[in-house]
Symmetry: C2
Subunit: 345 residues, 2 copies
Amino acid sequence: MFAISRKEVARLAGVSEATVSRVLNNVGPIKPETRDKVLQAASEVGYVPSALAQQFARKKSDNVGVILPFVPKVQLFSTFYFSQILSGIGEAAQKHGYNLLLIFRDPAGNRNYSHLFRAQKIDACIMLGSSDSEEERIALAELEREKFPFCLVNQQYSEENYNTVDADHVTGSYEAVKHLITGGHQRIAFINGPIQFSNSNDRFRGYRQALIDAKLPVDNELVFSGNYSRTSGLQLAPELARRIKDNQISAIFAANDRMAIGVMNGLVPFGLVAGRDYGLVGYDNSDGAKIVTPSLSTVTVPFYEMGQQAMEILVADLNKKTAQQQRMTANKVLLPVAFIKRETS
Amino acid sequence: MFAISRKEVARLAGVSEATVSRVLNNVGPIKPETRDKVLQAASEVGYVPSALAQQFARKKSDNVGVILPFVPKVQLFSTFYFSQILSGIGEAAQKHGYNLLLIFRDPAGNRNYSHLFRAQKIDACIMLGSSDSEEERIALAELEREKFPFCLVNQQYSEENYNTVDADHVTGSYEAVKHLITGGHQRIAFINGPIQFSNSNDRFRGYRQALIDAKLPVDNELVFSGNYSRTSGLQLAPELARRIKDNQISAIFAANDRMAIGVMNGLVPFGLVAGRDYGLVGYDNSDGAKIVTPSLSTVTVPFYEMGQQAMEILVADLNKKTAQQQRMTANKVLLPVAFIKRETS
DNA sequence: CTGAAAGCGCTTACAG
DNA sequence: CTGAAAGCGCTTACAG
């Protein structure tokens, strides 16, 4: 149960403890044979440096925090969405020697992100599921003011100079709607998610522009809103069914797959089948889109790459900081998305 | 950018630094007015203790590691599965003041879990997606030998005395198959996952027992194997189609929903519809089971609770350790599952 | 009830 | 190229 100490290694190798550290950290000039002696001794006793002591001495935790919506709410979000992003973050973190600290937002709505930095629990953090609110803005502004490195994923505060990794949802939505129009649809309903998410607004802009470019009217009566859950799509079904049957709606574009699938499932009891009685396009290219019947046309988003890039940006920032570089200008990355045609459209 | 130090607080409150620590940690007897002075001073200067220094001094990282399959492979597993368990772990961790350190297994197959403990990066860990292999057994045995607290989720090494949280997959599978038998099915195929997972074996045992209890033969010709992915189910479709049409198979029980859905999707081109032309039951009650058409009968597993319990077991172990209690006997928890009837059966 | 001091196990500037 | 020593910011046994 006793940890093997550095002292032991030093004794065995016949050098000072400082030299052991230097060899193990590959720092400073070391005589090759000294290095060998130390390495030999270290592996002999199975020495493992204490990360706790290193972090303390270096004043660096090597942890990158990943902020997630508070637990019960995670379910509301697509698990697909988070898993993909998280995997991407994990891959890049591993590559650069950082640990991932998972942090669920406080249920009480408390947004004290800087506390995590002040307590030195994390060196940087990645915000997932961030949404525009007064508290969130205040919390992010504080991080910025204190120069704590962070990066937003899939959420933008356009007027702010924050690191951001997002996907081109305007174009993605534009393509989705354009596809429906090309397919002959003129009355296209849009089901959006909450407007606290910048990517909801992006989708609306794409939807709107596609209509305008096709010289079709933008009718507020055709814009609905849900909360990105399947249930919220399901609940709109009766209203949508009525309008489809009245020929007021011929196709539907939903801001994510889950709502699209909710709609699709909900319209079946009304005898309405996607792809046959109305066009339907979702968004995200989640696992669900492939397995539903008929399969769901959608827009694929490079979530994995988004996670990777967010991590890369932070690593770059952390290295700059080490190099005493001052003001860093924020990095804003926008990745491409792609429309995927399946059976519902 | 300068962290406010404890020294500052001590000066302001007119006490020693030791007293500041005592007040903030609520340890030892403190005169109420001293406490007030310190608390007042601390909040005045916005003092936040360094977690790094605390962890170092206490020789305790407050981190619980969550070991996940290595990144590319995470996709093979159901994201649903991990999200649920992770949320449960997160909830319990938060409650007890532990941080979650996400650790993806080494792609190289290296299983040096103890290194994480020796480096003091984690105080305990939870194993997700563990499967029976020589390397895994060696790595776990080492943890046990060193008395590093860990807990397995959804995987058992029955002959070993390890902390384990699992669900009663034998009964779950038994119920699923019994339901099919009750529905009049006599030739029930079983699609299992890799046998390195104890829960695959559990499912087979449940399947087998249900047949035996119903005085039906256990026919090896009816047992197939996949890898828990949708694709592996899809690939079995041609063979299954042939057998269904030959009346050799009347129903299928798949070890998870994804394979069941793969089968279901794959049989459609053969004109075979689940629930009409053959009975089908999956396992997990994933999101997918609800959205496919026809909806999939399945077995629901309390993943969230499993995560919670794993964390609770570890917290109890860690507290015991602190209290110098010696040999701890492992905790083995088996949670109940429930069959859910939907349209495919 | 409180202070002075040792100690946790490293890193790293300084001196040689 | 290497050693002696200061310092990182806490906790906690010891003394009073």
